[in-house]
Amino acid sequence: MSRNNSIMVVLIVLFSIIFVLFVYLAIRQAAHINALSSEISAVQREISQRRTLIAQLKELKTNEQFLRKQHDEISTLIPKQPYEGMVLMNLQKSADDCGIPMVMIRFEKRSEEGELVSMPLDISFSGSYPEFKDLLSEIMYGSRLIRINELDLRVNDGMLEVDILANAFYSK
């Protein structure tokens, strides 16, 4: 084989190697571009979702004061502890404010339903009907949630005797 031919064979081998190498690299670049496009789409979707979330959060921010007030009110309605003393004091205060003395309060056995714990109450008052109506309003719209299950009203010697079976609540 002449020297010229040898050089040409070397060149063919060299060009073949360059061809194979750069075709491989080009394919890798194409795959990389494809991966980048997918990633761009994913990030754009994420950006869109985040923009929506930010819009919602900004709306919350506008209502922040209202939201905090609502949270405080609801947290008082159903606190995280039983606070029987608070129930007792609230009822006593409501009764005093309405001029219908609280005769008795009894806390019955509690029951749980999920996160909610019910505290059954048996409460007795003695007074007049207008006072009872005021008291009912105080209990129903009081700071602590009390659900009235049963009411018993009796007139005895001109006085109205009221028995209320109710539930106060707290969350676990």
Binding site: S2, N4, N5, M8, V9, L11, F15, S16, I18, F19, L21, F22, V23, L25, A26, Q29, A30, H32, L36, E39, I40, V43, Q44, E46, I47, R50, I54, L57, L60, T62, E64, F66, L67, R68, H71, I74, S75, L77, I78, G114, E115, L116, S118, Y129, K133, L136, S137, M140, L145, R147, I148, N149, E150, L151, D152, L153, R154, V155, F169, S171
Partner: protein, 197 residues
């Protein structure tokens, strides 16, 4: 005229091989050049999406930091919703007792006196059991008629209506059961329109 080559066969063969090699070098050179060119183009094309990705990633991070700053509000809102659901569950369709008592007492005729009133509820119906005295049976019947025509009562039933003479009175005693249907459930939170700043 016929062309006759007098060159030796080996020489011709070598020359043809050299020619093929030359062509192969050129073809492979061109192919390698095209491959390099394609690679360069692909590399240039990669720059654009890489820059775009970098930019949108930076924007995404910025948005995330905005979200992080506002996230406590979302937790607060979720907590309010959760507690609100607990309140709904706790209220459990309780009737508005003020409305119920207001309705029943407003319709009591002067000739009737209520002595005992027991109230409970089931679903959206407040169930009342009323014991009292009346001038006569007609007064009780009249009141039952009024309740019946009010459109808010169901299951009105009279347990008894009897003369009080046995117990020393001069009227009649009666016991009545009434169901009062309230379409609007009790709302703990009165809806107040929110005023935006």
């Amino acid at each position: 005229m016929k062309h006759i080559s007098l060159l030796p066969y080996e020489y011709k063969n070598r020359k043809r091989s050299g020619r093929i090699l030359e062509i192969s070098v050129v073809v492979m050179g061109i192919a390698a050049g095209i491959a390099v060119f394609i690679f360069v183009i692909a590399s240039v094309l990669t720059v654009m999406p890489e820059t775009e990705l970098k930019a949108i990633k930076a924007e995404n991070e910025l948005l995330q930091s905005d979200i992080d700053a506002l996230l406590p509000l979302k937790e607060l809102s979720d907590n309010v919703k959760k507690l609100g659901n607990l309140v709904e569950k706790a209220v459990n369709g309780q009737p508005d007792w003020l409305e119920v008592f207001g309705f029943i007492t407003a319709g009591i005729p002067d000739s009737i006196r209520v002595n005992v009133l027991s109230a409970s509820y089931s679903g959206n119906t407040a169930i009342l059991s009323i014991r009292g005295t009346a001038e006569d049976h007609g007064a009780v019947a009249g009141w039952m008629g009024v309740l019946n025509n009010s459109g808010s009562c169901s299951d009105i039933s009279l347990n008894y209506s009897r003369s009080e003479t046995a117990s020393g009175g001069n009227g009649i005693e009666f016991e009545l059961n009434v169901g009062i249907i309230r379409n609007e459930p009790f709302k703990l939170f009165r809806e107040v329109p929110y005023e935006q700043e």
